[in-house]
């Protein structure tokens, strides 16, 4: 069941998949953060999320909110606080759609 489903998502929308796993050249701000010049959107998200976990940046009172440190704030539009709900969108901002 599982492989079928994964396969389905891949065949269903190859463009969407490509936008997730294709390597993209990073802007300088992000390059400093991840320490690589190229990364996929998926890996970038994982990187940001593990950074949040590693540095205990989730608000102790409301786990759904992240209190950004200076480094994180730089790549997330300079916000001091972001909600976990919007994290994928904020990461996505660094990966603009390629013009056709």
């Amino acid at each position: 069941m599982l492989p079928q489903l994964t396969k389905k998502t891949i065949t269903e929308n190859p463009k969407k998949l490509a936008s997730l796993i294709d390597l993209a050249n990073l802007p300088s701000t992000l390059r400093d953060f991840v320490g690589q010049s190229q990364i996929s959107r998926l890996r970038c998200f994982m990187h940001v999320w593990s950074y949040i976990k590693a540095n205990n940046l989730q608000d102790p009172n409301n786990k759904n909110v992240v209190n950004c440190d200076e480094k994180l704030s730089k790549i997330l539009l300079g916000k001091s606080q972001v909600e976990l709900v919007e994290l994928p969108m904020l990461v996505k901002l660094h990966f603009p759609k390629e013009p056709k």
Partner: protein, 481 residues
């Protein structure tokens, strides 16, 4: 000679006719890794002790002997000349006469790392330098198998090398038998050359000997996967003219295949054909047809098949009941399905995890997640432990039934037992969490799904992303109100 058969039996083609690939592997491959050492060891032990048992059992279990350190592959390079040298030095240094088994093992291990042409030459060399070695059936079967396998490496598939192997066999006075056919067909099917397998089977059936039913059914099963149905029928007709008739297993394979393509009408026709051919449908045939109806959500027909079985006097087995309960649960006839739980217990079949999970699935679909939980308790009381499918079904049911608290509890149980999440239950659970604004928990579930390798990173993330997008929208709408 009296002692030899037990050890010979492993290399004897007769044992390999059922599952040549599996039965021939351990015996023929192991010598390949250390052909000179192992026979040396076993023979050495065999002669003084006069007992063949320990040596043959040690060979069967494949336990490396304590006296011999890790065996090294005898042939290090695929080059023919170095293999010849190795062989010559083996012969001159050997403390005991090599028998045909050793030669076969050597040939096999060489042919596995080398190409087929060199393998032919190597055999020639062995016969020439060691005239006491007379190649037997196994020898030629090794070459035949390797020649079939060698086809995959070439872009242009051509059976001539296989024919060469067969001809060599015939010239040396050995008629290819059903084992040779089986080995060849299986090797060809393994590398995806079904069309050539058909060609070869026709050719060999005409010239030498008919395939046995195992080979025949194997090929039918493979053909069903790669060919359209009419051409499979044509193959069956062709084989009929040669004298190989389909048996009940062949028909079951065909019925299963048409059921998978949702062609139940053809399945019913085949049922008639097999009765005409003088076969009485058995439990497997009925189970297959019942499964076909389950796929199509035709509950009444599922029960119809069950009734027909009863009328025909075919004893339903555990699979029948599981299929029946699965099918009825799937179409929402849970109450009826539950009744069969008792029926099957009366018939002496104790329900297993599959039975219970099917039922729970049906109950969850009806929105009775609590009932499904109660069934889980009953199941555990009956000494049947739930599997990952059970857990996933229940987790999904609880989330859908707005029982998120229980769902989270359940998730913790799953996590502690390292049960993997299925894609659908993962998606449902994440969505339910986000609905209750438990975003951090949803992230935690995402982490677990990735860590436990339940889903691929891509699948897990894209689900999370879509769900978060949806949750954000819902939140904004709520604020706007």
């Amino acid at each position: 000679m009296g002692k030899l058969p037990p050890s010979m039996r492993s290399a004897n083609p007769l044992t390999s006719f059922r599952t040549p690939s599996s039965s021939s592997l351990p015996n023929q491959q192991t010598p390949s890794s250390n052909p000179p050492h192992r026979p040396h060891f076993s023979l050495f032990k065999k002669h003084p002790n006069k007992s063949s048992k320990p040596s043959s059992s040690s060979r069967k279990t494949l336990t490396p002997s304590p006296q011999i350190p890790t065996p090294k592959p005898i042939f290090k390079s695929p080059s023919l000349s170095s293999a010849k040298k190795t062989f010559d030095s083996l012969i001159s240094t050997s403390h005991f006469p090599l028998n045909v088994r050793h030669h076969n093992a050597l040939l096999k291990s060489f042919s596995q790392i080398s190409n087929i042409e060199d393998s032919f030459s190597f055999l020639q060399h062995m016969v020439k330098t060691h005239p006491s070695f007379s190649p037997d059936r196994v020898t030629y079967n090794i070459l035949l198998t390797q020649s079939c396998k060698s086809l995959s490496n070439e872009g242009d598939v051509d059976l001539s090398i296989v024919r060469k192997a067969i001809d060599l066999m015939v010239i040396n006075g050995i008629q290819p038998d059903h084992v040779s056919i089986d080995l060849a067909i299986r090797s060809l099917c393994d590398i995806g050359c079904e069309e050539h397998a058909v060609e070869l089977m026709n050719e060999m059936s005409l010239k030498y000997c008919l395939p046995d039913t195992y080979t025949y059914n194997l090929l039918i099963r493979r053909l069903c996967k790669v060919r359209p149905l009419p051409t499979v029928y044509r193959f069956i007709d062709e084989m009929k003219t040669l004298g190989v008739k389909p048996d009940l297993v062949s028909y079951t394979i065909l019925i299963d295949n048409v059921c998978k393509s949702k062609n139940l009408r053809e399945a019913t026709r085949l049922l008639g054909v097999l009765s005409e051919a003088g076969f009485k449908p058995d439990c497997f045939v009925y189970n297959t047809i019942m499964k076909g109806y389950c796929m199509l959500d035709r509950g009444s027909e599922v029960i119809g098949v069950y009734k027909q079985m009863k009328e025909e006097g075919v004893e339903p087995d555990l699979v029948t009941y599981n299929t029946l309960i699965f099918g009825l649960s799937k179409v929402g006839r849970v109450e009826e399905a539950r009744k069969f739980l008792e029926v099957m217990a009366d018939m002496g079949h104790s329900p297993d995890a599959v039975t219970y999970t099917s039922l729970m699935n049906g109950m969850c679909k009806k929105g009775d997640a609590l009932g499904a939980l109660a069934l889980l308790r009953k199941m555990e009381e009956n000494g049947c432990s739930p599997n990952s499918c059970t857990y996933n079904t229940l987790l999904q049911g609880l989330c859908k039934g707005k029982l998120l608290e229980k769902g989270i509890e359940f998730y913790e149980i799953m996590k502690s037992s390292e049960t993997k999440l299925e894609a659908s239950s993962y998606a449902t659970f994440v969505r339910a969490l986000c609905r209750e604004d438990k975003i951090a928990e949803a992230y935690e579930v995402f982490d677990y799904a990735v860590e436990s390798k339940s889903l691929t990173d891509v699948a897990a993330y894209s689900t999370l992303e879509t769900t978060l997008k949806w949750a954000k929208k819902v939140k904004e709408q709520r604020q706007a109100c």
